[in-house]
Assembly symmetry: C2
DNA sequence: CTAATTCTTGCACTGCACGCAAAAATTCAT
DNA sequence: ATGAATTTTTGCGTGCAGTGCAAGAATTAG
């Protein structure tokens, strides 16, 4: 709103009327001596926007919060918001574009690590889930909001969407090496199911450890469900 | 846009300047001697809107089609569109609010029909899927569009959302009668997974029969996937 | 210190979705 | 059939999400 002339370079502390709250925090916590100023500011702004979004939505609900409010709270223009996030929901969730590493892909395709599809799928999901450990606080708040505002789950699906091509290629590649009967769509949905179930389990456990720690429990639930039916 | 004075009562064919295409179709096919005129027109408009939406999106893609275009094509105002559908996507999918019958609910809750959770879940999904047999043509087109425009899958999730409360209640009620280990979220996601997998299987089979006919195959895929892992 | 690069910002615009009240269409009672 | 009651359509106005564009500010490179 008020144009805060950002100046967190190590300059003399002259009469600066508006030392914006969040920009200040940025200078401090954002891994101080990392890269260029540009990079640091980018991270800071991104974090500020996520914080603002989560805080406002927690207080007033998703529909009562506008992008303008979030931007104002974070001290940037509304237009800038969309330089950082595609949608309002993405900011609330602190959406990071996590992808699979080359390593993970190679292992999975060549039938690894265990040779059993479900178990290997579990490994794949595990490596998708681990990066979240960095932004722990934001992820936790995102999970809470995901319960209160189920509409946000849509974004999760969009994420699937974006990576569906990659996933399908992955499945096809492995199928060529080590055939299996399950269809691509089932596997894709299964990944989504595991991610969601894992997050819920993590939440129920009071957010102990990382999300990936609760993946085995999620898989166990599924296996048990099927096993009971088999042993009729 | 142009106010077409609809008059498809069995009136004399006087000089009617605009015998709108779709309204005409309505008088013919819409189960002619059913209920009141109002009801028939409602169905007709709804069908016209879905047809228009699907046709336009098939031709130009989802993002190139506006609600105004759809409404114009169907011969109603844009405002009226939203009397029939909550979103543009709903019209494209021909979204019907299918719910579970009292009968289905009672059976499931008291541990039926088979007593095995997965099998009973299958029955539940089956009864969710059967009503689609009526609007066969529209459903088929919707499935095709769902492939070309994955964004539409979001709507599927919203549907889940809306019925999640009902589903969770269902699960809880059954849990009280016949305990099981699987969490509500896993079961909810499983329902979604089964629906999606079934539709895909139906599509791959060239839309033979009804969607529900391919549900067993979907379940089999899942069971097989788990079974292979168990028999390690 | 200057030039090149990158990022932010304001402005304008399209489109979705909804509330409201007037007008049109349909049903109902007689 | 006619007029009243009800339901539905429609036009108008509003708010908000999201995007393209070009000017200007900040950062970096030389």
């Amino acid at each position: 709103m008020v144009p805060t002339s950002s100046r967190e370079t190590a300059a003399p502390a002259d009469a600066e009327p508006r030392p914006d709250l969040r920009e200040l925090a940025a200078a401090l916590e954002g891994t101080p001596a990392e890269q260029g100023l540009r990079e640091r500011k980018k991270r800071a702004r991104r974090a500020a926007l996520i914080d603002a979004a989560q805080q406002l939505v927690t207080a007033h609900g998703l529909d009562a919060v506008t992008v303008e409010m979030i931007s104002a709270e974070a001290g940037v223009s509304a237009r800038t918001f969309f330089n950082y996030f595609e949608t309002k929901d993405d900011a609330v969730l602190g959406a990071e574009d996590v992808g699979l590493s080359e390593e993970d892909i190679r292992t999975f395709v060549r039938g690894g690590p265990t040779g059993r599809l479900l178990s290997d799928l579990q490994s794949l999901v595990a490596s998708l889930l681990t990066p979240h450990a960095e932004t722990h606080g934001q992820t936790v708040r995102a999970m809470d909001l995901l319960q209160r505002e189920p509409r946000l789950l849509q974004r999760h699906v969009v994420w699937m969407d974006r990576h569906e091509t990659q996933l399908v290629e992955l499945f096809e590649a492995r199928r060529a090496v080590k055939p299996f009967s399950a269809g691509n769509e089932l596997l894709t949905m299964l990944v989504l199911l595991l991610i969601r179930t894992t997050f819920v389990a993590w939440e129920n456990a009071g957010y102990t450890g990382g999300p990936a720690d609760h993946l085995p429990a999620a898989v166990a639930q599924l296996v048990d469900l099927v096993a009971v039916d088999l042993g009729s």
